[in-house]
Amino acid sequence: MKRRALLIALWPVAVIAEPGLAQAVRERLQQPEWLRGDFTQTKKVPGFAKPLVSTGNFVAARGRGVLWRTLKPFASELRLTQNEIRATQGGQTSMRLDAAREPAVRLITTLMFSLLNGDVSGLADVFELTGSTKGASWQLSLTPKPGALQQVLKKVELEGDGFVRRIQLFEANGDESLIQLTGQRVDAAPEPGLFQ
């Protein structure tokens, strides 16, 4: 009967470590319902001499999900919704996680949205936050709270102003990713069909 979690499982704790900091960051951010933008991801993976660079665009819709479209060096799509996480290439599904079977799907989707959108209160549920503000810009250092997330992530660094501009992920397996976000647009027309 006893089964083991195969995905990270997160336990929300509704305590914000530094309410002042969170408040300060939130005041600086625009957090639209629908956010579009472009990204450049530079990933350092142990075993590879050169970093892996990819570019593309993304859509983050509050309460709906995130679409991560890689264009270069080759096209692929990652769609995170409340019901599933699905990776596709050329219309073919290469990975699919179903929320009905894997409760962690919703948590991952929420986490991804929070990172892209700078949703501080969402992040404070699972991370210890420290950071600072300077003028219009801010930076946050996120350390996972004790729990399953610690087995996946060591640390996250966030920087931004009105938008999140820079995300640095330090994974437990040694992978390091730098994601730079540019060209964010708040006037993006809603596309409800995107996350059905």
Binding site: R4, A5, W68, Q89, M95, L97, R101
Partner: protein, 767 residues
């Protein structure tokens, strides 16, 4: 030697035997504190043709019968966990309950599988590696490398670019909805994913069907549930022990109400008829002796007693009422000195009555129901013991002096005169009416042997079980496959052949070989994965513009021994039967095999070493088979009884038998007309009706005159007592007992009503 001297000697001898039996009972129940077995499965026929299937069923049932699963639901995970803590705290430490999972435990599966990951492929991955072009595989691997979120992955990308091991593990995870969250067993509602449940597993010591284990647990679980509910949580309990406890509780409640009702009724009847409690006390003594001797002999024969044997056997012993009742009806109005002459006259009559009943009961031992055999031995022995007590002890204990006939007894006995003796025309009319009723009944006759009809669990319990099944989506245990092989590897290969077929039928299977692939499969999968990885490597290097390290390939394979020794095998270990017959066996469980069509298709699957087991279906079929068998036994019983009667009454024997035969037919007809769906527990009591009804015929036919009050008094008192004891079972909430009681209620009344009609007009004038 006179009858009196003989009786006195035999009475002394009987006293010694009875005391020995009482001592045996005290030793067994009081000194050793043994309890009757309450395991209902022990009452079902051991599957005589398919011992392997039975063994597999037994093993699965054993695994489940001690476990109660509790789901504690809250609006969020934290609330559920707080409530689970309250539950566990209230339950106490001495009860084996599992909820928290140590980190080491939750890592056990990685410790077991990571070293042998090379040979582990999910069916989809295997198909893809076999068919997909190398470029497509490379695209997939690269996408995973670039994406910010991937599937669950163990180790570095270069070790497993396609994340084959992660996919395999994810598929294992799908086997259950239970997850370890924050070091606890947790579950989310599949239809409302923000509703969380904490899972607590409680393991009882001993079989869940055993009363003592249930008794100890029930109040403490209730208190624990209240503690959890105090935290605003919802508590859902499921498991075999709960159903067993509910059934035992209901049986106990009914013994109290129905049993008390019939006791009061019978005592009142005796007081009215004899104006003395002595006859009732002596009849009670004869029954008590019957019970003690029956229990003792049954224990000696079977080694244990089943609760159902006690309930049914004691009921069947109620027929012994006839003998005591007959003794006092005959004794009434006689001086003490006349009792020996009376006894000499009565011995052959009562012996015949006893013999015909014992014939009926002994026939119960014919069908291979172990429970029925116990009941047959118990009731036949008890009946003989009660009979012997009446014969040897009553004349010495019935008190000196004349037993004055009471006015009520006289009035009751003289009611005999109200029945006309039917002549040919009257009988023809009765027969015609009966034929019409029988025809009507036959047209409405419905037979259904589905064992599920006999379930009578409380609605709340059934609702909780259903909710539990929805939340857990666990495979069913009522139908499954048993797989056998000469050795472990052949077994696993056969299982793999079976699961491949089941996947083709779009059925969810839970099989050991999914967790422990055969060595042949592990080798083939490892070879396939290594070959495709080698194909991909140059493509990946070219696309990435840098060399890709070759994955460290391992030759290690997972063996059954290592698997069984790891805590990671625990979720499905119950399906590993180990030694089965000549070789090794496992069970393959299914999801979504509920429809009759699917079950028929599964039953038709023919694969080496694979056996389909449909326990519900099989038990239902067996119940049906035994219902037919019992009907045949009943006919046989009538024939044997007729032979016994003919030996004493010659050509008039039919007069003693026909009323009961008619009552039998009409009872079935009336049950059918009343809309009862007939099954074994309607046919079984007809056999008792045969024993009882024929007694009435014998007693009346001995002195058939319409103005003979004693036989009719005896028969009426006996019938009334029977209706008060058996008939009241019709009030039972247990479907089997209800069917049993209702059949006897109608049958005994009709037999009593008809018997005087069939007596000859003039004493001794045959047909």
């Amino acid at each position: 030697m006179s009858l009196e001297q003989t009786t006195r000697r035999l009475a002394g001898l009987w006293l010694v035997i009875v005391l020995a039996c009482v001592a045996h009972n005290v030793w067994h129940w009081v000194v050793h504190k043994r309890m009757p077995v309450t395991d209902m499965l022990a009452m079902l026929p051991r599957d005589e043709q398919r011992p392997l299937a039975a063994q597999a069923t037994q093993a699965l049932a054993d695994a489940g019968s001690r476990r109660v699963t509790v789901l504690i639901g809250g609006a969020d995970a934290a609330q559920a966990q707080r409530a689970a803590d309250a539950f566990l705290h209230s339950l106490g430490d001495d009860i084996s309950a599992r909820h928290r999972v140590a980190d080491a435990d939750s890592q056990a599966w990685l410790t077991l599988y990571t070293p042998v990951r090379a040979g582990l492929l999910s069916p989809q991955a295997r198909a893809r590696l076999t068919d997909a072009p190398t470029t497509e595989l490379a695209d997939q691997a690269l996408a995973a490398l670039y994406q910010p979120v991937g599937g669950p992955r163990v180790g570095a990308w270069a070790d497993d670019p396609l994340n084959l091991f992660g996919q395999w593990l994810a598929e294992r995870g799908q086997a259950s909805r239970v997850r370890v969250q924050d070091g606890r067993l947790m579950l989310t509602d599949p239809d409302a994913t923000d509703r969380h449940y904490a899972l607590v597993l409680i393991e009882l010591s001993g079989s869940g069907f055993e009363i003592s284990a249930q008794r100890a647990l029930q109040p403490r679980m209730d208190a624990a549930a209240r503690a959890a509910e105090g935290q605003g949580a919802q508590v859902i309990r499921a498991g075999v022990p709960l159903f067993a406890a509910a059934a035992a509780e209901q049986a106990e409640r009914e013994i109290h109400t129905i049993g008390l009702g019939s006791l009061v009724g019978i005592v009142a009847l005796t007081l009215l008829a004899f104006r003395s409690i002595r006859p009732r006390l002596l009849v009670a003594l004869s029954m008590a002796v019957g019970l003690a001797v029956a229990a003792s002999v049954s224990l000696l024969v079977f080694g244990e007693l089943h609760l159902v044997t006690l309930v049914f056997g004691s009921s069947l012993l109620g027929v012994a009422e006839n003998y005591g009742s007959n003794y006092f009806s005959a004794r009434q109005g006689l001086e003490a000195g006349e009792r020996w002459a009376m006894l000499a006259r009565q011995i052959p009559v009562v012996s015949l009555a006893m013999a015909t009943t014992v014939i009926g009961y002994a026939l119960l031992a014919l069908p291979p129901f172990p429970g029925l055999r116990q009941i047959a031995v118990f009731s036949a022995v008890g009946l003989v013991a009660a009979f012997v007590t009446v014969l040897w002890w009553f004349p010495l204990l019935d008190g000196a002096g004349r037993m004055a006939p009471t006015r009520f007894a006289h009035w009751l006995g003289s009611r005999r005169a109200l029945w006309p003796g039917l002549k040919a025309r009257g009988l023809a009319v009765l027969l015609l009416v009966s034929v019409v009723l029988a025809g009507w009944g036959a047209s409405r006759l419905r037979v259904d042997d589905d064992i599920r009809q006999l379930q009578s669990a409380p609605a709340a319990l059934v609702a909780q079980q259903r909710e539990f099944a929805r939340l857990m989506q666990a495979p069913g245990l009522a139908q499954f496959f048993v797989v056998q092989g000469r050795d472990e590897q052949e077994l696993l290969e056969r299982e793999e052949a079976l699961t491949a077929r089941l996947r083709g039928m779009q059925l969810g299977a839970q099989a050991i070989s999914d967790w422990l692939p055969s060595l042949r499969r592990q080798r083939a999968d490892a070879a396939l994965a290594t070959r495709r990885a080698a194909d991909m490597r140059p493509v990946l290097a070219e696309r990435l513009g840098q060399p890709v390290a070759s994955s460290a390939s391992t030759q290690a394979a997972l063996t059954p021994k290592a698997w069984l020794a790891s805590p990671a095998s625990e979720p499905v270990r119950a399906q590993w039967l180990g030694r089965l017959g000549e070789g090794q066996g496992t069970v393959v469980l299914l999801r979504g095999a509920e429809s009759a069509d699917t079950r028929a298709a599964l039953a038709a699957l023919k694969l080496d070493g694979v056996t389909w087991v449909d326990k519900v279906g099989e038990v239902s079929t067996l119940l049906g088979r035994y219902r037919q068998l019992m009907s045949a036994v009943l006919v046989l019983g009538f024939v044997l009884t007729w032979a016994a009667l003919a030996w004493r009454f010659g050509r008039a024997a039919w007069r003693a038998l026909a009323p009961t035969a008619l009552a039998c037919v009409l009872t079935v007809a009336l049950l059918a007309i009343a809309g009862q769906v007939l099954q074994l527990f309607h046919i079984l009591p007809l056999l008792i009706l045969l024993g009882l009804g024929v007694d009435y015929g014998i007693f009346l036919l001995e002195q058939p005159g319409r103005h003979e009050t004693r036989p009719f008094l005896s028969v009426t008192l006996a019938a009334a007592s029977t209706l008060l004891s058996f008939g009241l079972l019709a009030l039972s909430g247990t479907p089997a007992l209800h069917a049993f009681g209702l059949t006897l209620l109608i049958g005994v009344f009709l037999a009593w009503l008809f018997t005087p009609l069939f007596m000859p007009q003039d004493p001794g004038s045959g047909s």
